[in-house]
Amino acid sequence: MKTRVIWFLLPALLLMSVSAFLPVMTVLNYSLHVLFAGSIPKYIGLENYKAAMHTEPFVKAIGRQFIYTLEILLLEIPLGLALAMTLPKKGIFVGLVLVLLGIPLLIPWNVVGIIWRLFIRADIGVLPEAFKRIGVAYSVEKAHPAWWTVIAMDVWHWTPLVTLLCYAGLRAIPQEFYQAARVDSASKFATFRYVTLPKLKHVMIIAVLLRSMDSFKVYSEPFILTAGGPGTTTELLSLFVSRQAIGAFNLGLSSAFSLIYFIIVLVMCYVLYVTMTQIGERR
């Protein structure tokens, strides 16, 4: 019996090994060698990792990435929740609003980048024009406006996801809890604090984890919008790593960058998995 099971699993395992296991192992192997394109590899142990952690642009990109994730979370989670709470609960507008909200989520990531490139163009863009009218200088050639434009793009793109998650969570709260709060003369704030928030806790954890993981992997939108510029001010981790791997010839060091990046994402996936299974157990 057991041997037969193996035969059924084999195609999937083979496919997995070709698509995931082998490339990762190759990169791991590269990262342990001095390896320039075309040269003979030489084993150097963890030297590449030490070098990576001493590469200032890389460490800066990690720091930038964490700040980016923190900032988009601080904006998207409260904004998404606030939007979800103002959405209609029933009626003909529910479907319409949900579809409208879903549109940014349905647009391919690189197209989002292109849309925002049009927004920021000095000649026809809506953002420079809008800022000009309120008398504020705006140009993505400068570090701060560029950074906040990248953040704004992420908020524009992904807040609807948080909203949809929260909306589903809100709909799942039995009305009896709100009736009980009214019976207890709870104020609007107390109702939010003691009924809505605790009941949304699990949904919020999922939203936070999904957004932090995804924001670590963000690539095409900032690449198209600013390509990490001006300078390296908007160079997120994925942009840095891909630039190293494609532009540079030091494959060993690039592999080390990739693996460190991979491990960060992996740890976050693990946290997501553990949290979600614990939620299941507690119920």
């Binding site: 009896e176 207890d184 605790p198």
Partner: protein, 360 residues
């Protein structure tokens, strides 16, 4: 506590052009300090009535009075009611103490008073040892008590509404919760309205039971009255396990012609019935239907179709030509399905209905 009065309440749900009448003229009084129950099958309008009492719904017409104060248009917050729902509604993020203190804190009651009231109520509900624990760690019965406790901490509560509070409580916990509810009721003497479709819960809890069907109050009275003297065939059928046997019958001289058999009655009863016409509905409770394997004078033969053993007694379903009759007999009686039995019931135990009104 307050006396609750409902005057000419009607309610119709309107959805688009479809109008669904839910309540069709309800006049009721729930006396102060009296445990009452609203009993009826699903869709009879009892939940609508409860929502009108709690302020969730404003009736299409009619007024609601709490101690002669018209509260019909007041929102829930201003009615001073307490409500216990089908499942325990407790605030998970607060401990038991916080839950009990919540309604008082919202009303800006001073701290010392809050503490005193919370402890009093916790003592009464046997929650004093659980004050620091989270509500999630309590069994469902205790969580439901905690929900009740939030209604008891306020001294000005007019009425406690219980909306099928046993639905999600397991059997063992139900017994515990039922005992606690009776204890609270007898100690505090509060007005409680218990809404349920379960006759056992209603009859054991309440001193006054209101039976509803199809948006109308069919009968109100003590459990005893409802059982012994159902004024409407529905009450007879709905209360009792199994419910009352109901059969169409025709008066022919001194005999009642029932489908499948004939029952002779006394002259006095026949005279009484004659005044109301000839066509009636006859009701008799299964425990008054006697059957025997031997023939007796005036008894009629029916065939046994189903025998259900309930331990001390058995429920025998008897079939005649177009009629079906249930009888409750001691388990000692030997019966087999398919057997012929001789059946009779005393006319004093019979209820006779004309146009759904009891006349005998």
């Amino acid at each position: 506590m307050a006396t609750i009065k409902l005057v000419d309440i009607t309610h119709t749900y309107v959805k688009g052009r479809v109008e669904t009448p839910a309540l069709r003229g309800i006049n009721l009084t729930f006396e102060e300090g009296c445990p009452s129950a609203l009993l009826g099958p699903s869709g009879c309008g009892k939940t609508t009535l409860l929502n009108i009492l709690s302020g969730l719904l404003i009736p299409s017409s009619g007024r609601v009075y709490f101690d002669d104060v018209d509260v019909t248009d007041l929102p829930t917050e201003e009615r001073n009611i307490a409500q216990v729902f089908q499942f325990p509604v407790v605030y998970d993020s607060m401990n038991v103490y916080g839950n009990l203190a919540f309604p008082l804190k919202n009303r800006k009651v001073p701290h010392r008073e809050v503490d005193q009231r919370v402890r009093e109520v916790a003592c009464l509900l046997d929650l004093i040892d659980d004050l620091d624990s989270g509500p999630r760690s309590l069994p469902a019965g205790k969580r439901q008590l905690l929900a009740l406790g939030r209604g008891l901490v306020r001294e000005d509560t007019s009425v406690i509404l219980l909306d099928e509070p046993m639905t999600q409580i397991d059997v063992h916990q139900r017994w515990f919760l039922r005992r606690e509810l009776s204890k609270v009721q007898s100690r505090l003497n509060i007005t409680m309205i218990y809404v349920t479709h379960d006759q056992y819960e209603a009859l054991t809890f309440a001193e006054k039971v209101v039976v509803m069907n199809d948006g109308l109050v069919v009968q109100e009275g003590t459990p005893e009255e409802l059982y012994r003297n159902p004024q409407h065939p529905f009450v007879g059928y709905f209360i009792g396990t199994p419910g009352m046997n109901l059969m169409e019958c025709r008066l022919e001289g001194n005999r009642l012609e029932l489908p499948g058999f004939t029952k002779s009655i006394s002259k006095a009863l026949a005279e009484k019935l004659k005044k109301h016409g000839a066509q009636f509905k006859l009701g008799v409770r299964p425990e008054y239907v006697h059957c025997d394997t031997r023939k007796h004078e005036g008894w009629f033969p029916l065939t046994v179709t189903i025998v259900e053993d309930r331990g001390e007694f058995q429920i025998i379903t008897l079939q005649g030509d177009g009629s079906s009759l249930k009888s409750q007999m001691p388990s000692t009686l030997q019966v087999t399905e398919g057997q012929q039995m001789w059946v009779n019931f005393l006319e004093e135990k019979v209820k006779v209905y004309k146009n759904d009104q009891a006349i005998v």
